[in-house]
Amino acid sequence: MTRRARIREKLRWSNIYTFSCIRPNVLESEGGAHSLQGEGFSRIVHCNQPRVHRKKPLKYPSNYISTTKYNIITFLPKAIFEQFRRVANLYFLLAASLSLTPITPFTPVSMIAPLAFVVGLSMAKEALEDWRRFIQDMKVNSRKVCIHKGDGMFGYKQWQKIRVGDVVKVEKDQFFPADLLLLSSSYEDGICYVETMNLDGETNLKIKRSLEVTLPLGDDEDFKDFRGTIKCEDPNPNLYTFVGNFEYDRQIFALDPSQILLRDSKLRNTGYVYGVVIFTGHDSKVMQNSTKSPSKRCRIEKKMDYIIYILFTLLVLISLISSIGFAVKTKFQMPDWWYLQPKHTDDLYNPKRPAVSGFFHMVTALILYGYLIPISLYVSIEVVKVLQAMFINQDIQMYDEETGNPALARTSNLNDELGQVDTILSDKTGTLTCNQMDFLKCSIAGVSYGVVSSEVEIAAVKLMAGDLNEQNPDISNVPVQTSSTHDFWGNNGTNIEASEIELEAGITPKIGKSRKHLIKGFSFEDDRLMDGNWCNEPNAKVILLFFRILALCHTAIPEPKEETGGFNYEAESPDEGAFLAAAREFGFEFCKRTQTSVFIRERYPSSGHPIEREFKVLNLLEFSSKRKRMSVIVRDEGGQILLLCKGADSIIFERLAKNGRVYEEDTTRHLNEYGEAGLRTLVLAYRKLDESEYSAWNSEFFKAKTTIGPERDALLERVADLMEKDLILIGATAVEDKLQKGVPQCIDKLAQAGLKIWVLTGDKMETAINIGFACSLLRQGMKQIVISTANVDALASVPEKTLLLCLMTDQAVRENILMQITNASQMIKLEKDPHAAFALIIDGKTLSYALEDDMKLQFLGLAVDCASVICCRVSPRQKALVTRLVKEGTGKTTLAIGDGANDVGMIQEADIGVGISGVEGMQAVMASDFSIAQFRFLERLLVVHGHWCYKRIAQMVCYFFYKNIAFGLTLFYFEAFTGFSGQSVYDDRYMLLFNVILTSLPVISLGVFEQDVSSEVCLQFPALYQQGPRNLFFDWYRIIGWMANGLYASLIIFFLNLIIFYDQAFRSGGQTADMAAVGTTMFTCIIWAVNCQMALTMSHFTWIQHLFVWGSIGTWYIFLLLYGMSSPILSGNAFRILVEALAPAPIFWSATLLITAACNLPYLTHISFQRSFNPMDHHVIQEIKYYRKDVEDQRMWTRERSKARQETKIGFTVRVEAKIRQFRGRLTKKYSTLSVQTGS
């Protein structure tokens, strides 16, 4: 029973669709089968017999997927290999292995332990990350799907249990668990809709269709005895091809991509489908396609490598010096040192073979001075970055309550790069805009309806209101808060409201404050049309037709809503959804679609009840990006045949009939208005058809439909073309592509922070420009430089061109573009007005020329000079190319942000890729380095976290080099006093602890918690961000300064200690200092000096920092105490050294004090000097905050806040300023004319 009922419900879309669903019958004969011989076509799938695939020859991988790098067995070798690909680690490994030989200056454990610690920690991090991936895999693997268990019974099973040959039933809105062969669907003709967003980023639905022969398999029981064999290609990464044969009922049928449902795509608008599993797990196309995202390294780390190379050079140099010194000493002096028994030596100290000894000593020295290379640097940085990433992830202010998505740092090693971004390349749809359409305005019969302002208009009005505010003090006596202009977006709510009220009261008085319509996709408001009032309009008939087109011309499917009795529309694009919502609100509710008809409930004000009308759909010529229009041919209840068409204005206007152009002028004007208001427009038109005309065309159309071969599409298009002409224009719709929350504000702030923002969109130029206006990237008065190939393009597209001519035009296009670019550059150069701003707008086709090698530098030069750059109609590949151009051309850090799979290339190419974890699939997020829920969080991510992380890491790295130089060089100096023999003055265990415990925690706390200014201040003073891109904290000046500081500290520590402990008794007991005492004191001084230096460097103290800094010093004493108490065999000469020898000696403590102070004196002087006479921005702000001046002197505080931005030419605030200038200009003119008048 149920089955029959369902079948009746099924639709045969193939009868409706024109282009996508034609099933060329001929191909299904045996002759059409692909001949699958040879390599690459070995796969055989026995449908519904998964057991067959458990044994060898046909055993394919299971559907278990794993994206982990390691497994339990491979983890150790692989991870260790990864670790030792770092040069520094390799060096330490070598040193550690040499430490087992007598060459070493240290005991083996003191070499191996830190290395093991560091490598172990890194590996633990790897393991943790891999574990997370594993958990994610497990989540996917344990998803359930309905699977045929035999005898027509279906049951749920985990994805990972699926095997090749299984028959699965996938229900609506589920993902396909593997690559499937579509057998049948809930639609009678085996059509199903698939959303492939995760594969290619396209949001529109794609149609897949099953083979004719498998259509009867429409129910669970049909699969009881279903058998079939598929022979097909081997797994490959090509998403758009599939070659295979299907053997069923002793017949062979050819398979092509349109029967294949790919893993990770989603079933939409279709109740369920049955399919046979062909490729499982890693064989599936999407898994084959997954590329490893390129590993990115941040700038600081790259620079760090240079510093490490410098240190290596230094290391080799001083090793060389000491080994030469050693060789000389050994050769000339050691024979005299009888106490060394020079005659009984091995090669290490052989005075007769100084060269050999020297060589061995070189190795020793390389190990000895290894303390110059901070072994724990990498690991500390990693730890710090992971913790920083945790802070980013936990930031409540970047948590999106709607979707429940927090910000997520997916790769932690780019945190500091966030603070150095120079250019942001942004996707538009889904990133700047919501991809949610709102029907806002329309123009019918030359009359524009709709009073609700678009966001662009609101923004513009606000701006004018702000202008008034600013100008008021000059003109009138009204007391106004002058500060408010820049505070539109501030936390201060009253200001916004004030201006908003002003705007709405003054400019659009008709609308109240709140939009009462909370209907998705519909924000239209106009009493002339609403509530059936349209009947009273002069052009009621046209309006009726307009509404009908809205309700009829689409491919959506209605779905009854249980609760309200209304309908949900499953539309291919959000525009269509908006149209249907609009039609419904106007009283034309689309309620049912059958095989041949569309039913509409029309509600007229005259009659209270809705009337259900049936329109027979004769043909449907659907939308494609090439055609830019769609039409339906319907027969209404009166038998009248109508062609209803909607499409882009340029396309429709050229197809209008002579008598259909009545409203063209008005409509065009309205279209321009809408365009300026940032709305997306479509033009609606219709055509009445005679029966005879239609049937003549239809037969031709049918012929075209059934043609086989490659020319079919072209033929169909041509036939469709024949019909879609002589149209009569009705009007136009305007749909608002809503900006995401907070986007203009965010762009404004980012612009103030000195960032350049480029928009790369696949949309058409007009829409892109509209959005540019909406986001304040463009404004009136900005000089727009549009570079396009439009004029030349027309020439080139003439079909009769010969090849030669084509080449010539190609050349011509190139020259043309080059000329445009040069002209524009000239224009910018000649521009005198400092406030003049330029915007560059370029389309994809032109871009493809501009990105060629010979032109790209000019193009880049032009683009860099422009305040904003908008590239439209760009392909994903071009997005990536533009990103690369900017990255490589300017050498600055780029950030790409996007949400769809089409942004993946760009995200991977940019220095930092940010994915929006919003509505569209996860592809962009998976490829990204950071994911945020909304564009507006980018501000906080960059300006707060980026700024902090950059400073933290920069200071941390500098400090690392400082402390290791300070420590490492003392070893070298001591060398010179031991005849370069390679003896170190410190106990091995001190050195072991130095990097790993005694100095690492404070620097980590610096890296994690340091804040120069609080997050609010960062946001209020976006100019502070510029410290990052200008690299103020990690330039060579600073690095070398730190290194010099290290050098100075090492000299002070070593020589002061040496002279203090020179030869006299160092305490009242008369004992002289031995090596252990001197070494321990020296080491104490180092610990004190570097930790105090750290304390001076920090500007933000919490108890954690105090604990770590002073705790580290405390730990040293505790260690010394414990070490001294351990067995003398273990501690050697350090036995009881603190208790017995050093602690009772005042000289030990006073030397520590003296040396610590002396070491930090230069830095202290430097910062006091800098603070007193040349303070940096954050210093001043710290002081202001410290003295609570911001509370006391609010006026100053807001004034400074408003000034604290980079000069920029985009963004909202600039718009306001431009207006103000205009205004002032006018005023002065007025004054001057006035004075002239009075004068005369």
Binding site: P105, D336, W337, W338, Y339, L340, Q341, T345, L348, Y349, G754, F974, F977, T978, G979, S981, Q983, V985, A1023, I1059, I1060, F1061, Y1062, D1063, Q1064, A1065, R1067, S1068, Q1071, T1072, D1074, M1075, A1076, V1078, P1128, I1129, G1132, N1133, F1135, R1136, E1140, I1147, S1150, A1151, L1154, A1157, L1161, F1169, S1172, F1173, P1175, D1177, V1180, E1183, I1184, Y1187, K1189, E1200, K1203, E1207
Partner: protein
């Protein structure tokens, strides 16, 4: 400023402490060569039959309070050479049970087929000059006990470890040890085994536990046994008192005064500059966007 306030007094105190110390230094390695051996010191020192005794006279410049420490100072002696430093075995020194463990002692690990106790180059090259003091022909006793660290005596050098097979090899290094006394009592060895950090070093020889008046003369009879001639090292005999800060070394005080003075000077400089060209803390006009009106 604060630093200078703290540092200058410390500097003064250290300097005073250092100045209070009375120190007598006598270099004797050239003077103790008999005239007939001049120019051939090496053969003198290596000739076991030559008379090494030598007498010196020291004048006490100021009153010296007891205890007066007696040091010997060697120069150009690389006790910190890696080969030297490592050439010992702490296990063996600690307990008689480990007499056989001589690892690291090469080449002074075994002699005549049996292990040397104490082994290694350090022990082997033990300093062997001896000093005898007399004041007004009355012998001054030099107390040589208690000159090493207590922990060394108690824990590191075992009281059941007796020198064995020591200085029995073909090469004779330094002093011979009394095989009947345990190592823990042989404090000169214990002191010597604490290797010095620099090639110039002093080591404690003993203590004179009587006060010495100013201008009294002490005659020293010394045995000049130790060979520093092959490497041109000096030998000095040092008598010194100590204060709370230890022996005579002005440097610490001077350094404190310098750093303190520097701080003082810097602080003054800052104050002066601040008075001349004051900057109010938190003055917003120093913000970068205020300083360069054109922006960046």
């Amino acid at each position: 400023m604060l630093i200078s306030v703290i540092f200058i007094p410390i500097g003064v105190a250290s300097l005073l402490a250092s100045r209070d110390v009375v120190e007598i230094v006598d270099r004797y390695e050239t003077d103790c060569i008999p005239a007939n051996y001049t120019g051939d010191e090496l053969s003198f020192i290596q000739d076991p039959s030559s008379n090494k005794t030598c007498s010196r006279t020291l004048t006490v410049p100021k009153h010296m309070k007891q205890p007066i420490y007696v040091y010997y100072q060697l120069d150009n002696f690389y006790q910190n050479h890696r080969r030297y430093v490592k050439s010992r075995n702490d296990k063996q020194l600690r307990s008689a049970d480990n007499a056989n463990s001589t690892s690291g002692c090469d080449p002074e690990d075994r002699a005549n087929g049996s292990p040397i106790v104490p082994c290694g180059l350090i022990a082997w090259s033990l300093f062997n000059d001896t000093y005898n003091f007399s004041l007004n022909n009355e012998a001054l006793t030099v107390n040589t006990s208690g000159i090493s660290w207590k922990s060394d005596r108690d824990k590191k050098f075992g009281d059941n470890v007796y020198p064995r097979n020591f200085q029995n090899g073909t090469l004779i290094g330094g002093k011979r040890l009394d095989p009947s006394r345990p190592l823990s009592e042989q404090e000169d060895l214990i002191v010597w085994m604490r290797t010095a950090a620099l090639p110039t070093f002093r080591k404690l020889y003993g203590k004179i536990e009587v006060d010495l008046e100013a201008n009294s003369t002490i005659s020293v009879t010394l045995e000049n046994n130790y060979n520093t001639y092959s490497f041109g090292g000096k030998k000095k005999l040092v008598l010194s008192t100590t204060r709370w800060l230890g022996g005579k070394n002005d440097f610490l005080g001077i350094a404190y005064l310098t750093v303190g003075g520097l701080c003082f000077f810097l602080a003054m400089a800052f104050i002066v500059v601040y008075l001349v060209k004051p900057r109010q803390l938190g003055d917003p006009s120093y913000l970068s966007w205020n300083r360069s009106p054109s922006g960046h």
